[in-house]
């Protein structure tokens, strides 16, 4: 923690840095929220731990000047995507890479404490310690990891200007696409039922779109009134259309930060759709997003020998 405050303090003193994008502690137990430090004093509020879940890169373009940003591997992969798609200028960024061993799901933790009032919490190694009004309790971090984390193969950001700690290699990860494969096995009718139940719930609040670091369109297709491809009514028909196209637009681009999943107030498993697209793009075109800035996105290009078994 000292580290990041010191780094931030040094950076903010530089003339060319307008703000430092990081996290501060939120009011709720286990909550961290995005924070923008503009003065050395602000920097003292910065924190960095495995409860820092938000993907911060979408905030970069809120600032006109150069910013420094703390990035976890997820955020860094999003950066790669944005650089690839000309959405941010590399020169206007100072990237501080943070290794990640998996982030925690604050909601899960809140459920675990069963409504007790939390005074404070701290993270030590693979344990999280919770201090109540009276007494304290310790939990194993690995029981509270976000769904995306256990199978994540990127523990060190793929892009950074400075890295806190040493690069981490991964081994023996669980299957990332296990859930997708499980769903794929369902008969068509069950798949449809599964997704219809989820889509039916959709509020169309577009939190999934707005939180997504790669959904940067000035006008989302769903907002396009000419023509109004997707009705504004939130019925199954248009919700489904919205989600299908949303997922399709992220095909070959989604870097699996899971922010949509987290943002969705209605608990729609959006990440499963995104992972399916990831699987599809990887299987057919041998492409994994978030790795290489200089390669065009897979759906903007082609190979003559692309598979076409399904085409008659």
């Amino acid at each position: 923690m000292e580290d990041i405050i010191n780094i931030a303090r040094e950076l903010i003193k530089r003339d060319d840095i307008e703000a430092i994008i990081g996290y501060e502690k939120g009011r709720a137990p286990f909550q961290t929220v995005p924070f923008f430090a503009r003065t050395p004093e602000d920097c003292d509020k910065l924190i960095m731990n495995s409860l820092c879940v938000n993907n911060l890169v979408s905030y970069i373009n809120q600032f006109s000047g150069k910013v420094a940003i703390f990035v976890k591997p997820c955020d860094a992969k999003a950066l790669v995507g944005l650089l690839q798609e000309h959405q941010i200028e590399r020169e206007k960024l100072h990237i501080i890479g943070i290794n990640c061993q998996g982030a925690l799901n604050p909601k899960k933790l809140r459920n675990a404490i069963k409504g007790r009032m939390v005074k404070d919490w701290s993270i030590n190694g693979d344990k999280i310690k919770v201090y109540y009004e009276s007494g304290e309790e310790e939990f194993n971090i690995k029981d509270f990891l976000l769904d995306k984390c256990p199978a994540c193969d990127t523990r060190t950001p793929p892009i950074y200007d400075e890295l806190l700690g040493d690069e981490i290699k991964t081994a023996d990860l669980p299957e990332l696409l296990a859930r997708v494969k499980e769903l794929e096995k369902l008969p068509a009718a069950e798949k449809q039922q599964y997704w219809n139940e989820h889509f039916e719930r959709c509020l169309r609040c577009y939190a999934c779109v707005k939180i997504c670091p790669l959904c940067y369109c000035e006008r989302c297709f769903v907002e396009n009134a000419s023509p109004q491809w997707i009705d504004k009514s939130n019925n199954l028909k248009s919700n489904k259309a919205f989600h299908l196209i949303r997922a399709y637009h992220l095909a070959g681009r989604c870097i699996d930060c899971g922010e949509c999943d987290r943002a969705c107030p209605m608990d729609i498993p959006l990440r499963e759709l995104n992972l399916k697209m990831r699987k599809s793009v990887e299987e057919h075109f041998n492409y994994v997003p978030g790795k290489d800035i200089d390669v065009p996105p897979p759906l903007s290009t082609f190979k003559k020998e692309d598979p076409q078994d399904f085409i008659r």
Binding site: G26, R27, A28, P29, Q31, T32, V33, P34, F36, N54, S58, Y59, Q62, R110, G115, M117, R201, L203, R204, C205, Y206, A207, V209, K210, I211, R219, E223, Q228, D231, K232, S233, N234, N235, E259, R262, A263, P265, M266, D267
Partner: protein, 343 residues
Amino acid sequence: MELILKKEKLKEFLEQLSKNYEIIAPVKEGELINFKSVKDFTKVVMTYQKSIKSPKEFLFPQCEELYKYKFSGKDVEIKPAEVEKKPKAIVGIHPCDAVAIKILDKLFGWDYKDELYFERRNNTLLISITCNTPDWSCFCTSVEGTPYDADGTDIHFTDTGETYYIEGKSEKGKQILQDNNNLFTEAKKEDKDKVEKIKKEIMEQVPVKFDIKKVTENMDCIFDSKLWDRISVKCIHCGACAYLCPTCHCFDINDEGNYEEGKRIRCWDACMFGHFTKMAGGHNPREDEKTRYRQRIFHKFNYYIKNFDTISCVGCGRCIAECPAGMDLVKTLQLIEKGAEHE
């Protein structure tokens, strides 16, 4: 009129009620609690922390048809929408959500009475329940509400452990209790005391976070404060807060259909969306995130008072708990409480 209902008799009570009413009650959907039209009353969850959506959608649906149109030759045929006539009973509504309905009444009733809303409203029975499981985001007590005071509802429940303590609030509510007399027993003094104790305990769980009087007083001089720039940066401009809010009521009117026929619908809209106030020519009076967030806060804590003599926030905390970007209304109001100078 205070009665006691054994918990196991709730099902029976709802069954009786369902003879005349469609029962809307909280049920579990995955991890979420949500109000739904219920037929299997064993699924009803009366004691819950926070329903993900407020039941406002049963009075003011997210999307509703205003009328249908159909071209025939050069002429258009128009067929106004009709609201289904069957009365609804919203069971298990928390006091905050119940208060919200009163707030909505004002807006839909001023000048032009919104018939679609009131047709439903007048056909809806509200059965509230004391909220005994507030969470960190709740702040009803800070906005002049309580977790147990359900003004404006017809019947109020309080979960006392083994039984429900039931108060008939409106004439309609009292009549219903009367009609189902056989299900209840008369409440005794110790029951009453118990309920009072519960209320006190819950109040302690929802400490007052700010002085709402001071906040509203300060609003008028804080419009141009730099505060808004600071707070709003984090906001990602989704509509989650507005759509989950029990008092938000902004809507959009749209035509849906094909080239020859369709319907005009109104559906919820949110002032956080960029295109909300964007005019056809491209001008947008609330172009940036700052003005949009400020509009939201001002609408709830200033404009609404000026027009309707009440704030339009009930402290349910949904906007805080569900904000994906960690925006915190309580923090904003605390800043406003401190005044413009403190930034």
